[in-house]
């Protein structure tokens, strides 16, 4: 039996509405300007470096992203 939490259609719609809400100019700027911790920046740069090394061209990156997104969509709990 799966113990992965799932969402009802109503909860999913509510979550999507929250994720797609339009921020005010102040809220938006504050989110953009939020400081990075040193660890966060290091981890992110390492991720960028890995992605560029593993998929050196734009075509390879787009192809990989399509594959990974399809995989995630088919495996995500409903």
């Amino acid at each position: 039996m799966s113990h992965v939490p799932t969402f009802t259609d109503e909860q999913r719609a509510e979550l999507e509405a929250w994720e797609n809400r339009r921020l005010s100019p102040e809220e938006f700027e504050a989110r953009v300007a939020a400081p990075w911790s040193e660890r966060e920046r290091e981890d992110f740069l390492a991720l960028l470096e890995w992605f560029a090394r593993r998929y050196p061209t734009a075509g390879e990156r787009l192809q990989a992203a399509r594959h990974l997104t399809a995989q995630w969509l088919s495996n995500r709990p409903r």
């Binding site: 938006f28 740069l45 992605f51 787009l62």
Partner: protein, 157 residues
């Protein structure tokens, strides 16, 4: 369920050879630049007069527009659907969340080409302009994308 027949290289080739001034924007452009993010659709900003050419190019891939070019010009956006979903912006200019007017022609003039295969390339906005387009919708994830684009811009030699 039948597998999708969609071929991304042929999709980009059709657009590149259509004659339409079309910029890939949104998260696919971020991915092409080197940001590992996820998305399920394609976002394009095209010249207001080029919707017919853009639609015609995608017809052989069994992709159809939800609005005629005339209707699309009035509303400023439309969708092309088939095995994939393409959001198309056709406005001549769009305002950012902080009120800056961004003109397609300016962004187009500063576009960057990225190679997909030996004979196919895509046009995307420069990183600075991509950041501006991320200020149109002003959703939380657009702000996050700008943070990541700024780091990417800083990491480029």
């Amino acid at each position: 369920m039948e597998a999708s027949k969609f071929n991304e290289v042929e999709f980009f080739r059709a657009i590149a050879t259509s004659g339409a001034r079309a910029l890939l924007i949104g998260r696919r452009a971020l991915i092409a630049l080197g940001l590992p993010v996820m998305t399920s659709d394609y976002d394009y900003w095209i010249a207001a007069d080029d919707a017919a050419a853009f639609n015609l190019a995608l017809k052989p891939l069994e992709m159809s527009p939800t609005r005629s070019p005339e209707e699309a010009r009035q509303t400023g956006r439309y969708v092309i659907e088939g095995d994939e979903h393409v959001d198309v912006l056709v406005a001549r200019g769009v305002s950012t969340v902080d009120g800056t007017m961004v003109q397609f022609d300016d962004i187009w003039a500063r576009r960057v080409h990225l190679t997909i295969t030996d004979d196919v390339s895509i046009a995307i906005p420069s990183i600075d302009d991509l950041i501006l387009t991320k200020k149109f919708g002003a959703r939380p994830r657009d702000a996050d994308d700008i943070r990541w684009l700024e780091v990417l811009r800083g990491s480029k030699p």
